[in-house]
Amino acid sequence: MAKAKGKVRFNEDRCKGCELCTTACPVNIVIMDKKRINVKGYNPATVDEMEKCIGCGNCATICPDLVIEVERETK
């Protein structure tokens, strides 16, 4: 069975760097970008290996600040 493919988009300026999304990702691809700070002054959450995303929506479900939008491939 082929794995579902997904994509997440971060509305980075809303992120407060709480890291809750990093605990919810089943494939552990959501990380905090320690090299950048956003307009609020936090290290924003991001994804480096987007090809591993399965579009489950867990990160968006636990995000308290409506940062994340999720897309999933439909068959």
Binding site: L20, T61, P64, E69, V70, E73
Partner: protein, 248 residues
């Protein structure tokens, strides 16, 4: 690719003022999503409390009314009685609902007022700077219980949902948590059910949501989720206490 998760129509675009990792944001979103799914955003009227969520009227994309500290159920009673076809809810914290506003909420439930209450329990006063609340756990440190809450002088933490479960007018009572994704999904189901009970005119519904307060607990956001799971849930057991079938 199809969008499977985006911001609900039930919330405005305004950014939350809550501290990083505060689960108020998750609970706001769940309420907004439920209003959208039930197609009642246009006829919903929320009543905001005093506490961290005092600015909730800026975030919900429906008519909102501010109430004095703890008095949201009294205001909601008036609104729902005058406008019975609208969907009315209060959004209250534990300092608001379980302390100064206990009389209002108990009697609103007792009168079976047909509105819905979202009760956010984070076991501390947030906005005022982390004072001890009725719901603060034994041994939990706060600015007014610096050695930890002591049962001998301050009693035991108040379990509100168990109290509502003894009131006939409260037809839907459930306690949920938002400390992980599975529980967030369950919490949404409970909130939806509570609003459906109102739409069916069956009586008062309340959902108690266990929430974190990383700032005033003095714990990082991710560890706060674990603290909630390990300390709050054993004292505040999750589950449904009342559904309309048994609550008449």
């Amino acid at each position: 690719m199809a969008v499977v998760f985006k911001k609900t129509e039930g919330l405005t675009d305004k950014q939350f003022h809550y501290c990083p990792g505060c689960t108020h944001g998750i609970i706001h979103r769940l309420v907004g999503e439920v209003l959208e799914e039930l197609e009642v955003v246009g006829k919903a009227i929320g009543v905001a409390p005093v506490g961290c969520s005092v600015l909730a009227y800026d975030y919900f994309n429906c008519d909102m009314h501010e109430a004095a500290h703890g008095r949201a159920p009294a205001v909601a009673t008036g609104i729902k009685r005058i406008l019975p076809d609208n969907v009315v809810f209060t959004y209250q914290g534990d300092g608001d609902l379980a302390s100064i506003g206990t009389a209002e909420i108990i009697h609103a439930a007792h009168r079976a007022e047909k509105f819905t209450t979202i009760f956010v329990n984070n076991a501390i006063y947030g906005m005022t700077g982390g004072q001890m609340a009725p719901t603060t756990l034994i041994g939990q440190k706060s600015t007014t219980s610096q050695a930890g809450r002591d049962a001998a002088t301050t009693g035991m933490p108040l379990r509100m949902s168990e109290m509502f479960a003894t009131i006939d007018g409260a037809v839907f009572v459930e306690r949920v948590s938002v400390h992980d994704v599975a529980h967030i999904r369950k919490a949404k189901k409970a909130i939806k059910k509570a609003f459906e009970v109102q739409l069916e005119g069956k009586g008062f519904g309340i959902v108690e949501v266990l929430s974190t307060c990383p700032t005033n607990w003095g714990i990082a956001p991710v560890e706060s989720l674990t603290w909630l799971k390990e300390n709050m849930i054993p004292y505040y057991p999750l589950g449904n206490f009342r559904t309309p079938e048994e609550g008449k």
